[in-house]
């Protein structure tokens, strides 16, 4: 069986960033496996701009952002395989992959970085009643039809879910001549970025109906309309508010799920809240030598953070390989407290400065982000506004970590 030091599964921004970082940290024997016919992952269909503000201090489109990393990968001559599907991985890091040229092949990897990204929740996950006609797509499927293939999925559109992809597609379809009738959001607030609400919806006079959902889909062959209704505080539709909206297309932008089928095959334990692996500060999962980064680990709202995380994973994998595969004894557990949905990493194994990413459960104005060990408040930081759609961070210093070995740290929100 072929042996390779580091195999990166996925050639999107996470995989490319991780491969480059691992290379720069001294790992030279790397292979990136990508299932699509080009590198770049989902960014290749995200042709709108707004990527890279943090990282490059400029606004790039998705393909441009991906190209920056592809250039780095190519400059280092890091090998990659396109049109290659990974079929299986094992906990002792044997990878089974397949493509048309090489057939099915196996690799024994010294370390693996999982960077398979995420997928959209389909209609089935929503239990929306009604018929099953053509014309119901996830926003990402519509995006692929339009931006990659050049075909319009429909002409009169209702969008369910105000996540960023839904908002972006509202503008995209408007600009391509479709009539986007409305965007419905089950929650009382939008999960999308304010700039997208302004530039995608308000600019095009597309109404955003908060606390609304689709209760029934109509149409025998193609969608002919939807019944929409307002929901109460328990998110149950109030049928007295129900009304029919004519449309030929329904786009769903109702959440993303990390794509962890391979992760599960390697018996990597997952976090119920992130739907991704449990990791330490280097992004190593609980299976030694298997790392994860990007949207397969937890869903990010900015690709800039994906890149940051992928570099942590790349360096982590390099350190793992260079240390001969030894595993640290983990001693600090990080847990979400009041008002916090999840934290990542979930464990910290070294006394080095660590940025903890987290998401809040609700929109709050003027709060304090508090780090606690038991009842003891270790640090607090004021935030003018937090929202579930925007990832937050808190820095834990090496000193703080050294002082609280073998303890559980809780990240929570308090009123400021």
């Amino acid at each position: 069986m072929r042996k390779i030091d580091l195999v990166v599964i996925g050639g999107g921004p996470a995989g490319m960033g991780a491969a480059v970082a691992a290379y720069d940290a001294g790992v030279k024997d790397i292979l990136v496996l990508e299932r699509d016919h080009r590198l770049g992952g989902i960014l290749e269909q995200c042709i709108h701009n707004g990527f890279g503000l943090h990282r490059f201090k400029e606004e790039l489109t998705g393909p441009e952002y991906a190209w920056r990393f592809e250039k780095e990968l190519r400059a280092r001559e890091i090998p990659f395989r396109l049109n290659t599907m990974v079929l299986d991985i094992t906990s002792d890091r044997v990878i089974t992959a397949m493509n048309s040229e090489e057939g099915v092949f196996q690799i024994q990897a010294g370390a693996i970085i999982l960077a398979m990204g995420c997928r959209e929740r389909p209609r089935g996950a929503l239990n929306t009643a009604g018929t099953r006609p053509a014309g119901i797509y996830t926003a990402g499927t519509a995006q692929r039809f339009i931006n990659i293939m050049g075909y319009m999925p429909g002409k009169k559109v209702v969008i369910l879910g105000s996540g960023d992809i839904g908002l972006i597609m509202a503008r995209r379809m408007t600009w391509e001549g479709a009539e986007v009738k409305m965007v419905l959001e089950l929650m009382p607030y939008s999960g999308g970025l304010t700039r997208n609400i302004v530039q995608c919806l308000q600019d095009n006079d597309i109404p955003l109906l908060l606390s609304h959902t689709i209760v029934e889909v109509h149409g025998k062959e193609r969608v002919t309309g939807v019944t929409i209704a307002q929901v109460d505080e328990k998110r149950q539709p109030m049928m007295e508010t129900a009304r029919f909206v004519e449309c030929d297309t329904v786009l769903l932008s109702v959440g993303l799920l990390p794509e962890n089928e391979l992760t599960k095959k390697a018996d990597v334990p997952l976090d119920r809240m992130t739907s991704g692996a449990l990791v330490d500060q280097r992004r190593m999962t609980e299976v030694p030598g298997i790392f994860a980064c990007g949207n397969v680990l937890h869903v990010h709202d900015l690709v800039d953070y994906v890149s940051e995380e992928s570099e942590i994973a790349g360096r982590g994998a390099a350190a793992f390989l260079q240390a001969g595969g030894a595993k640290d004894d983990c001693h600090i557990t990080v847990k979400p407290g009041k008002g916090v949905r999840y934290t990542l990493p979930q464990r910290i194994c070294a006394e080095e400065e660590t940025t903890v990413f987290f998401r809040v459960t609700d929109v709050h104005q003027a709060v304090k982000v508090v780090v606690k060990a038991g009842d003891q408040v270790l640090q607090a930081k004021k935030r003018p506004r937090v929202a579930p759609g925007e990832m937050e961070t808190v820095k834990l210093t090496a000193k703080l970590l050294a002082e609280h070995k073998d303890q559980t740290l809780t990240i929570e929100l308090e009123e400021a």
Binding site: E44, I47, H48, N49, E59, T61, P63, E64, W67, I146, N147, I148, M149, G150, R172, W175, E176, L193, T194, R195, I197, V198, Q199, Q202, D203, P384, R385, A387, E390
Partner: protein, 116 residues
């Protein structure tokens, strides 16, 4: 007259109130930083947007493009029409100018993906 602008300069999303006398800005309130004022001022006088869309490739595919700087929002429909007439030919590289100076102020339409 008063107009409410939601600032998109940062995730705060301040609701900035711009008081107008005809076209003259009288007062700007509700912003929490200087960027907010600049943003609100631009939104009221001449809001600008970057255009991103696709153009046809000769062999039938599509190629994503962008305007290399923001364009006046009020003329977007006209710009889109001009852009949609572009037919690009392979090979195209990221940054290649497909339509120069679309607005008379030097804004170009450039490719955002390579097509070999």
């Amino acid at each position: 007259m008063e107009r409410e602008i939601i600032c998109t300069s940062c995730p705060m999303g301040c609701h900035v109130m711009v008081e107008l006398d005809g076209e003259q800005i009288v007062k700007i309130t509700g912003n929490t930083c200087a960027r907010g004022e600049r943003y609100a001022r631009a939104e009221v006088t001449d809001p600008k947007r970057t255009i991103t869309t696709t153009v046809a490739l000769v062999d039938g595919g599509v190629l994503p493009i962008k305007s290399d700087a923001p364009l006046s929002k009020k003329n977007i429909d006209q710009y889109l029409k001009q852009i949609h007439e572009i037919v690009a030919e392979r090979p195209v590289l990221i940054g290649d100018v497909l339509l120069a100076d679309i607005d008379g102020n030097g804004v170009n339409i450039v490719a955002t993906q390579n097509a070999f």
